[in-house]
């Protein structure tokens, strides 16, 4: 699925840089290849340059350096209205003085399409988002979720092969957002379009995407499938940003094949998978997912822990502990029959498998 070189990619960013003020690079050497039909999400904290990338792709911002290619052709000099890229904005950007039907008809009119063709396409697009009955309404008469559907239909009605979405669900409440995630995903599969999606919500990125590009400060920190992103983070930023993470810091003492032995700052020695750590003597950060920690005393990584706080969450119990000098070490204890009952203030043992503990950049 992932295109290896620029020519094969449907969309490609080739060493793209962007600066607004000539002083700060908002996007730093971005390389990203997207295959036809793929759903790629740009995920990252606010201000990390995701929207800027999307705007460059749409043609509203000019790359300071580098090429953006669509179907193998550089598009830097093509104005936005000739790119044929559909776009969904966070605030929907539906034209308030036009009805729903007129909004959808607009891209077809500017393409000089005949009236009957237009009507048929508008109908089809509205039916696709289950909004057929709303054709004569004005945007102001629709709820946020309905407006979002119309905005989606409008981006799809002129049969764009590439659709960009910039935090399209950001203004919706949680329940509606989850429902729309599912619908967008469904439409993506049904139409076979390519979607570049921007969000700062990691669960949204993980549930919808084929691949996720994690942005931080204008750099893609990791580009991977959602499952890999969670289970195999390549650096400390991704491990911290995606899901919940326990971090333990220390110095690399020795390497043993795939593994390293790390002297943690709290005095303990741990074995970890050498993913992205420096040479012997350098600092590293160990990452362990809370659900991979068990309350047992066996294996190579076992240490003392002091129970600080317990939160009952039904299916599991969230347990905050003090481990190796870190007060925010989280363990998820499944609420299975016969699980160990902890009490606050109790001293216990925790352990984890070496392959679940990843040594990353400090």
């Amino acid at each position: 699925m992932t295109p290896e070189n620029l020519e094969d990619a449907f969309v490609a960013f080739d060493h793209v840089q962007k600066s607004y003020d000539g002083e700060v690079l908002v996007v730093k050497d971005l390389n990203l290849q997207i295959a036809k039909g793929e759903f790629v999400t740009m995920l990252g904290p606010s201000g990390s340059g995701k929207s800027t990338c999307l705007m460059m792709l749409a043609g509203f911002e000019v790359a300071t350096h580098g090429d953006i290619l669509l179907n193998g052709q550089p598009i830097n000099n093509i104005p936005p209205h000739k790119r044929g890229i559909g776009m969904v904005f966070q605030n929907y950007a539906l034209f308030p003085h036009m009805t729903v039907g007129e909004n959808l008809s607009f891209p077809l009119e500017v393409r000089k399409m005949g009236k009957s063709d237009r009507e048929a396409k508008v109908r089809r697009a509205l039916d696709m988002v289950q909004m057929g009955d709303f054709i004569n309404r004005r945007p102001a008469q629709l709820s946020g979720g309905q407006q979002q559907r119309i905005a989606l239909a409008r981006a799809l009605v002129f049969e764009a092969e590439l659709v960009l979405m910039d935090e399209p669900l950001g203004a919706l409440d949680k329940q509606l957002r989850e429902h729309m995630q599912y619908e967008i995903k469904h439409i993506h599969e049904q139409l076979g379009i390519t979607v570049v999606y921007v969000t700062h919500d990691q669960s949204e990125a993980l549930t919808m995407s084929d691949r996720v590009a994690v942005f931080d400060d204008g750099v893609i920190k990791q580009l991977a499938k959602p499952a890999d992103l969670y289970e195999l983070p390549e650096n400390a930023f991704v491990a911290q940003f995606i899901g919940e993470n326990n971090k333990l810091e220390g110095v690399v003492r020795a390497r043993e094949g795939e593994n390293v032995i790390v002297d943690l700052d709290g005095g303990m020695t741990a074995r970890a998978l050498a993913v992205n750590c420096g040479a012997v003597g350098e600092r590293t950060m160990l990452s362990i997912r809370p659900e991979r920690v068990s309350l047992t005393d066996d294996g190579p990584n076992s240490t003392d822990a002091l129970v600080k706080e317990l939160i009952y969450l039904g299916d599991h119990i969230r347990c905050r502990m003090s481990v190796s000098g870190h007060d925010d070490f989280i363990v998820k204890v499944p609420n299975a029959s016969g699980h160990k009952h902890l009490i606050v203030g109790e001293n216990t043992k925790v352990s984890w498998q070496t392959e679940d503990c990843r040594a990353l950049d400090a």
Partner: protein
Amino acid sequence: MTDTGPVLAADGTPLKKKLAQALFVSRARAFSLVLPLLIFIVASFIIPIFSLMVQGVKNDTYSSNMPATTAIMAEWDGASELTEDMFAALVTDLIQARADKSIGRVATRVNREYAGTRSMFTKSARRAAKLEAPFMAAMLDIDEDWGDINVWGAMKVSSQTLSPAFYAAALDADYKADGSFVRLDTEDRIYVYLFVKTLAVALAVTLATLALGYPVAWLLASLPIRQSNLLMILVLLPFWTSLLVRTTAWIAMLQSHGVLNNVFVWLGITSDDSRFSLIYNMTGTIIAMTHILLPFMILPLFSVMKGIPPTYLRAAKSLGATNWTAFWRVYFPGTIPGIGAGALLVFILSIGYYITPALVGGQDGQLISNFIAYHMQKSLNWSLAAALGGILLVIVLAIYWVYDKVVGIDNMKMG
């Protein structure tokens, strides 16, 4: 509690009454807050406008000072033979008016209906006390024009306390003693042409401010805050400079040896001996009014444009619209409420504009308001001034009405 009886509050009074009592206090408080403004508006706006409307149709200068002829004029049809009774009444009135020192005002009043009669009244009043019957012959002896039926017609019109004479005059018509209206001769007509000219100038100024203001408002709305603040100061500059400074500046700029003309000559647009006349005429009026009224167009436009998210234009372009289509089909319709508000404001302000035409308009650039001022201050024909003002008011209301029908008043955004 029964099913049919009124709902009672805890102390037994009906709930409705209790609620009304509670609301009365808060309403009274709210009313007391607006009361000073209400009094001010009534005293400074509603009463003057009402009295203006009354002034335009009511004038008792003649009837209150010349009671005897006023009574006889009411009987007279304005066409039949003059009688001895009429002359007798006239002599009585003239004697009394001279004693009251009101003869000058009466003479002026009649003179407005029929020019050239003023001296007849003052001259005859001086000699009236010594006259003896028959008065017709005696009066004709003083001035044979007393036999002119038109003089008596003018007196009849003047004697009517309520009369459309001033409105007729304001519309270039003559109200005759027999109740008919006659349009003035072409060379005597002034006011209709002035109204039309005033409306045309107002339209020209509105279009000029729109054409100049729209791009500026757009720039204001789309620039980063620091630059837009600076630009806003430039836009508001006319408000912050005194009128005299501005007028001096216009004179320096626009006069025939002013900056602008020098530049035109230098650029070869015109030759040294055929410089443009840009001031003390209609051109000067339009230039100066456009300058002063520009902020009234820009500010509503700006506030409307500020409310249009920039993503609309981006969305339109992403949907395949060219820059022009995106502007015309998406952006422009959104600015119509601002255009409406700005145009209405500028148009109505221009219709009543007075000081600028007076300063830089010369002969040709005078508008209706300058003539109203003239009648208020120089000719002291307040009734005519009131009639002109009343017509102006009607025009303004008509424009509001048309605007409401076409655009809708509640569609208007001031900021």
